[in-house]
């Protein structure tokens, strides 16, 4: 059993289903009261690199910037979702699972 902090809410999570070794301060993915995976900040950074790499490789393939409405009836005024303040959000939050910090 570990104490986890989810955006300031402290609760407990069982470790029966966790294959990884964890220590206080680690981030874990918690599903219905059980930790199911340790999350590393390095993997989080890697995720952003993957996003950038894919976008850059496609942009390079297609040098002309795609027309605003080319084949996209839904794009009028479409901006991607606003950035939420994620400073206090552990990696991979969201989902019916929550991520919390083992303590």
């Amino acid at each position: 059993m570990a104490v986890v902090d989810y955006n300031g809410v402290r609760t407990t999570a069982r470790l029966d289903a966790l294959p990884d070794r964890i220590s206080p301060g680690d981030y874990v993915l918690v599903h219905t009261g059980f930790a199911i995976r340790r999350l590393s900040p390095e993997d989080g950074e890697e995720t952003l690199r993957l996003f950038d790499e894919l976008a850059a490789s496609l942009a390079a393939e297609s040098p002309a910037k795609p027309a605003q409405n080319a084949g996209d009836a839904r794009s009028a005024g479409g901006e991607p979702p606003n950035s939420r303040d994620q400073a206090a959000t552990p990696p991979a939050s969201g989902g019916s699972s929550t991520s919390g910090r083992a303590g």
Partner: protein, 361 residues
């Protein structure tokens, strides 16, 4: 120290949107996901309006309580009427069975409690001599937890009504339905944390469709869709991991071992789809004494056919979207739900009602 993870920052969102536009297929391309949490993220963030006109993105059987058959709910109600305390997850309570929901059974005096975890149900059993039953619904994300509790020496007054389901088998079955027209799968993130990406390889021999595991942040979903469209453009069809920070090829070995120890695979019924071979679980014989079905005399009402006009079966098989249903937001709302998809918080109808469905299409 909290790392700053910008999984929804606008700059990257625009870049991925542009990538998706570059990859826009000329013909209609239907992507199906099977996760209520994906539908929530897609709808709440309005992601459909960033997709090319040709890309349809639909939720299939992704809401665990929605796919729980009425007969299982009827069984839970019968057990509660027999005097047991019945514990289950919150959104299971209001899903209609054949005659009523667990909520209505509670109004009739049954002891029905919502829990956040099976661990809470077993704690309830430790504080009483009365029978306590956990109505165990959910996919591979909740099955290992039920197994862990049964392996952890629960008290003898505790038992389980097993209704757990396996997602990949339902995904495979969906491909063979008439009019399914599924061109690609966006595979569920946390189910895949448990079962691994290799679980989706089974149908690639018969159905050549891209299958990409995606996470739940807006950028995760746009990224997974870009990976799907790139496979389509390149004429490939493979399982790809778009959520590597949380998903490994082999999944979570500890969780899989818990499942393996306690459960064996069984054919079960899915609401709206029917019986699917190998898509569920039953307790192994050495855990049979924890099977609630064996502990109580259960008289079931006749299983009710679905309500006329309700298109939940089509929504659950990704052959319709909520607004295709004549009852949606008219007769059927979260306060007066007709079908299960309007009840479950992960049900497509409930999510579209709350967040407005899709922008166009």
């Amino acid at each position: 120290m909290t790392p700053s993870f910008q999984y929804s920052d606008p700059k990257r969102g625009r870049d991925l949107r542009d990538a998706i536009r570059i990859l826009a297929p000329p013909e209609t391309f239907k992507i199906v996901h099977v996760c209520g949490t994906h539908e929530m993220a897609i709808t709440r963030n309005g992601l459909r309006r960033f997709l090319p006109e040709t890309v349809d993105l639909l939720e299939g059987p992704g809401c665990p309580v929605c796919v729980t058959p009425a007969a299982d709910i009827d069984t839970a109600i019968a057990i509660a009427h027999a005097g047991a305390t019945l514990c289950t997850f919150g959104d299971m309570i209001r899903v209609p069975g054949s005659e009523c929901s667990l909520d209505q059974a509670r109004s009739d005096g049954c002891d029905i409690r919502t829990v956040l975890s099976v661990a809470d149900a077993v704690e309830a059993a430790r504080t009483t001599d009365e029978e306590v039953v956990f109505f165990a619904v959910g996919f591979e994300t909740t099955t290992p937890m039920t197994a862990a509790i049964l392996l952890d020496d629960p008290p003898s007054n505790f038992s389980v009504l097993v209704s757990h389901k396996q997602v990949p088998q339902a995904m495979a079955a969906l491909l063979d339905l008439p009019d399914s027209r599924i061109a690609a799968y966006l595979a569920p993130g946390h189910v895949s944390t448990i079962i691994g990406t290799r679980s989706y390889e089974s149908w690639l021999t018969t159905h050549r469709i891209p299958t990409v595991v995606g996470g739940f942040e807006p950028l995760d979903i746009l990224y997974a869709i870009a990976l799907i469209l790139r496979q389509h453009r390149d004429g490939t069809a493979k399982v790809e991991n778009g959520y590597p920070r949380a998903v490994a090829t082999d999944g979570n070995p500890a969780a899989l071992m818990l499942i393996e120890e306690v459960f064996e695979t069984a054919e079960v019924a899915w609401r709206g789809i029917g019986r699917i071979p190998g898509s569920g679980y039953r307790l192994r014989s050495r855990f049979e004494h924890f099977d609630a079905r064996g502990r109580f005399t259960i008289a079931l009402p006749e299983e009710r056919a679905d309500v006329p006009g309700c298109r939940c079966p089509d929504v659950l098989t990704a052959r319709a979207v909520p607004t295709d249903c004549p009852l949606f937001s008219a007769r059927c709302t979260p306060l007066t739900p007709v079908g299960p998809c309007m009840v479950g918080t992960e049900g497509a109808c409930s999510i579209w009602f709350r967040y407005g469905g899709r922008e166009s299409l």
